[in-house]
Subunit: 693 residues, 2 copies
């Protein structure tokens, strides 16, 4: 996140100009004090004003550079977010949870249309991933005993750094306060030296990596205080983000609400591997609630305390991460943002996933395959492909065990938001649970013919060790057996040449002398019939709520009403996602039309098309506006007893279709077997003004 060249230039110019203004100001003052000639003073004032004008011009350019375009752009981004948010809340796509009790930060309900959108997104996820890829779906509880999350590392490391207002006790995320401080300073203090600006920009870039001490030092250095009260802040300290509870009546079994669904899959590896006929690769999947007790949730629907995750754990032989179906997606091109482009200040670029894998930018075929499948999933939902990029984690962002990691980031009014993480986590998770549980979570590869392998054999002589080390003999014995090949072979040659060797036993905290008669070290050739190994896991993890929110923003637009007196809201959801597929309106309130509407409704139900009848007497224009605001693709207006009008949401085109044909036309358009343009050719266009908006 290097400072933009033009911004840096402008900051330098700004600082220079400020210095020039200050200097010229002094000059004017000096001239006045020394009683110089009026003409000289006037000339100096004129020069000062000219400098001020130049400064103001640079200031404007700088401001524009900082806000990434123009002030107006930034304002309209906020206005856009507000317009989407208002529509979503008014039409109950979502509702702040427990609203009548003034709500709880970070908890939201899905109202009826939101709930339908979510169900559609999840059904498509299941179709696109679980069914098409033959994944093994599981469904595990949210309540999780501590031991599982101790093994996974969440008990010790799933924390954010927190500071407290020392007087009121209000809690803040330490990194958020520092981030806000830097952003605010950069936006408002335009005449700060370019070096200072670069320092703040650098902090924003590396903020996520700061330790508690580093964060605390910066907060002190910049004199950051509690936002509301301006009180001093405590030192930062880690706060675990899991909701804690206890299981059973005794209060003795500590448990947590799961922070992710993945652990439920890992602990079932053995059964699932068996279920899959003891064959690799295979993938397991889970859709379910996850919980994070955020310190102070911000960003509305994007950072919440309870959310739906859909996670895949694809288990694969670490020595063979090829994917048989990679060839089907290798040609796909989309925006990728590899590590190199990020660190060299370039931007995301369009790449072919086949090339990205063959050039080694993406670590392996399986990872590449999932990146491509995620691309297809998101764009088919209606995510704008120009505002979707795959960003590779920088080395410092990745866990030490991860082989490679890419985030699907979607641009919305909050910036680029991580919505799907696709990580090659190597063998970390299965090893962690193997160790903690004592149950071996491994796979076997049977060789078609036995293989000859050289094996290190360390054979301590117990009797000699007992005589030499008495009570410590067990520690020495275990340390000898734990030597790796290099250590053992070095000891062997030392014993052969010198007869004895100093050997550090870490469990004793000291070195002992090992003599030749105490241990035999050799290499033996053995026949092996199978290879036993811990599978690697490739994990695509989907934040369903974030995807849905970005989809709302990408689908939203406004257009003027026919009279031009107001802006109407539209969600251009694909049929796949739309909460219902069509509405049925009798043009006027009369029994005959309502009867036909009911008849059409029955045929739509029989065809499996979700729909709603609107028999309110409001104008057809108002009813269209209402259905557009819910993103319903088609509206059927009953305006005669033989045929009806079907109107498409975005084009507002209308066609006339017989009552018998209407369900099948709606079906073929909404299930994707025909496009609207296809059916437009087959039916007469309708232009009757009475049903127009």
């Amino acid at each position: 996140m290097a400072m933009d060249a033009s911004e840096e230039t402008l900051r330098r110019a700004m600082a220079d100009k400020q210095a020039a203004v200050d200097f010229q100001g002094n000059t004017v003052r000096d001239l006045k004090v020394s009683g110089a000639a009026k003409a000289d003073i006037d000339a100096a004032v004129e020069a000062l004003n000219a400098l001020k004008l130049e400064k103001s011009s640079i200031e404007k350019q700088l401001q524009a550079a900082i806000t990434g375009g123009s002030r107006a752009g930034s304002l309209s981004r906020d206005a856009f977010r507000q317009a989407v948010g208002n529509t979503l809340e008014r039409r109950l796509f979502y509702i702040p949870s427990f609203k009548i009790y003034r709500g709880v930060a970070g908890l939201y309900d899905y109202g009826p249309p939101g709930c339908a959108v979510k169900a559609n997104v999840l059904a498509f996820w299941r179709q696109h991933f679980v069914l098409e890829e033959n994944m093994l779906e599981v469904d595990c509880p949210c309540v999780t005993p501590e031991v599982v999350l101790k093994a996974s590392g969440h008990v010790d490391k799933f924390t954010d750094l927190m500071v407290k207002d020392e007087k009121t006790g209000t809690c803040y995320r330490a990194d958020h306060l520092l981030k806000d401080f830097c952003k605010d300073k950069l936006e408002k203090d335009l005449s700060m030296p370019a070096e200072k600006a670069a320092e703040l920009k650098n902090i924003l870039a590396v903020l996520d990596e700061f330790s508690a001490e580093e964060l605390g030092a910066k907060i002190k250095e910049y004199g950051i205080t509690a936002p509301e009260t301006k009180n001093p802040l405590s030192d930062p300290y880690p706060f675990n983000l899991m909701f804690q509870t206890s299981i059973g009546p005794s209060g003795l079994i500590s448990g947590f609400m799961r922070p992710e669904t993945a652990q439920g899959i890992f602990v079932n590896f053995k059964d699932l591997y068996y279920f899959n006929g003891n064959k690799l690769p295979f993938a397991a999947a889970q859709i379910g609630q996850a919980f994070r007790n955020e310190i102070s949730p911000r960003q509305g629907l994007l950072r919440v305390r309870e959310f739906t995750l859909a996670e895949i754990e694809h288990f694969v032989d670490p020595e063979d991460k090829s994917h048989p179906k990679f060839i089907d997606v290798a040609h796909l091109e989309f925006l990728m943002f590899p590590r190199k482009e990020q660190t060299s200040g370039q931007s995301a670029k369009r790449m072919c996933i086949g090339d990205a894998v063959s050039e080694g930018i993406v670590n392996n075929q399986t990872l590449g395959y999932f990146i491509a499948r995620v691309y297809l999933f998101l764009t088919q939902l209606g995510i704008d492909k120009e505002r979707l990029r795959f960003r590779q984690h920088l080395a410092n962002e990745m866990a030490h065990y991860a082989a490679d990691c890419w985030d699907a980031e979607i641009e919305c009014s909050y910036g680029w938001i991580e919505c799907v993480g696709i990580a090659d986590r190597s063998a970390y998770d299965l090893r962690a649970h193997s160790e903690k549980s004592g149950v071996s979570l491994v796979a076997q590869e049977k060789f078609s013919e036995p293989k000859e392998v050289e094996k290190l054999v360390i054979a301590p002589t117990k009797k000699e060790l007992g005589l030499a080390f008495k009570a410590n003999q067990k520690n020495v014995l275990e340390a000898l057996e734990a030597m790796d090949e290099k250590e053992a072979m070095e000891m062997k040659s030392a014993l052969e040449s010198q007869g004895e060797v100093e050997f550090h036993v870490c469990t004793l905290g000291k070195a002992v002398t090992i003599k030749k008669n105490m241990v035999t070290i050799s290499k033996e050739t053995k026949k092996e019939y199978q290879r036993v190994f811990t599978p690697s896991v490739i994990e695509p993890s989907f934040g369903i709520g974030r995807i849905i929110y970005c989809l709302y923003e990408h689908s939203f637009y406004t257009r003027p009403s026919k009279a031009g007196d107001e802006q109407l809201n539209v969600f251009r959801f694909p049929s796949l996602v739309a909460p219902i597929k069509c509405t049925v309106f009798p043009l006027v309130q009369n029994q005959q039309y309502e009867q036909i509407a009911k008849q059409i409704s029955l045929s739509l139900t029989a065809a499996g098309i979700s729909h709603k009848i609107d028999i309110t007497g409001t104008s057809i224009g108002k009813r269209y506006a209402r259905t557009d605001e819910l993103g319903v693709p088609l509206a059927i207006t009953v305006d005669s007893t033989s045929s009806v009008t079907i109107r498409e949401r975005d084009s507002k085109d209308q066609i006339r279709v017989s009552i018998e044909a209407v369900a099948s036309v709606v079906k073929e358009v909404t299930d994707g077997s025909s496009t609207w343009t296809d059916v437009m050719w087959r039916f007469p266009t309708h232009t009757n003004a009475s049903t127009d908006e």
Copy 2:
């Protein structure tokens, strides 16, 4: 739960016979002691043995009567449960959660086939209820702040009574211990007096209503101790069954994991009513996780600590609970178990729901409509209609505010299990949240013409009250205004006749004297344009996991293998529920057949049919057995390059179908548009022994 007539007779006969045996035993002893003649002694012993034989015969009959059939029946019920359970666990329909860490009681995962069954059941629920009834679906968080569950009564009353082993601290449900004691005693102590047996039976019947004191007294009276240690037990005390947690970093906001999904709907009533165009009736629905921290979970999958609920809240005008679609279901007949039949010791009887409503057995049409819809839902899933009954709550089972309540109970190896509750909860929940939140949760009925109504008007004279009561005037004023019509009219006449009256002000804790000049009480006629009221709510609540478990038991059967050497397991799931709809087997491992299997797989995917290819080389019989055990309705065997065999699971009938037609045949059978018998007529039957089991 009156004692069964024959059991009571047998218990009396048993007690009589025992007395006769004891008497005769004494007689024998006396004869021996008094040195009576050998012939006399022999005769007495013979009589004693005859009595013992008779006693033993009665004992056997009694034992049979208690276990509801025969000992063998009881044993086979256990064996059946074990057989189902083994199959379910071996084929990963479910997995004890966190198994590698030795699990947690009451937590289970759904493995791949279980997960698919659950998804199918939920999809059908959404179709049958949400879509067909135009319900408003919502999706609320599990984490719930305390205030909401305080209002609903869960914080104070969602408890079970618990006792602790006084030495080890182990916790038990007090009612379970008493229940176990009574059952055990009744089964094993066959010679107990019939009165004693009746007492224990009565306890079993009224156990659920016992207070902590009553339970404690019985536990003391019977000397019940901790089951494992025989240590004494503490007095029973209430244990709240909600998982507690805290929300946010401060630890100050107490929260719980919701014990039901209903509250999320109630708190959103106002928005949902508006969304529905301010019209009643309407229903809202929610599917989601619920949590109960059971004291000591038993009964496997039936009593768990986390489970999926699907709940409907149907809001209706309390003055009009008719239902426009009741006529569509009024003819349905099924087993009902009304209050009267239960208390008079009769059994459930087949009734027509139309009659049950018109005879007033079921409180209203809407309740009756939902009972019928639940019947259709459960039987279409595959629940045996002979083992499904609707049991009305007894007066003492129902909450005081409930108008009527029926449970759909399904019989399985654990007995009759409550799987769906259908309750008319009147206005209780909305009123509770109105009061606690201060937000009015009501509906309006606009009158077509204004109505004249008489209204009570209480107008206190503030000045006089101030002079008379000084600092207490506010309390007096509020107490006057809070009078109901009866109180006010009594005061009015007292003031008119006596000029003053004693008036108790509860907020002051004393009576004050009210004089005529302090308050004017009158009745005025007003015009009203609308009626404002709190809607009643009718709540069908589905325990999805329990329904699924009962479905497993009702669908399971075994049949001998072809060789007759083993029993094969089959789940006769309807296609609607089956985890996948068909399997595809190449008869032998060869590339040509595998290619055709893939081609068929593509056409099945295109038709939206979930399926799996099994290319393992095992015998076709074994592969059929494997697919039967998962309840897959159809299996396609690829045994030629032009046509294939389709085999139906339960009949084992096979037909030959061309490769082109296979997907459409499978589709029409599995989506229910044709039956297997229908298609059997259209295609040649296949009898080739090679593909037989």
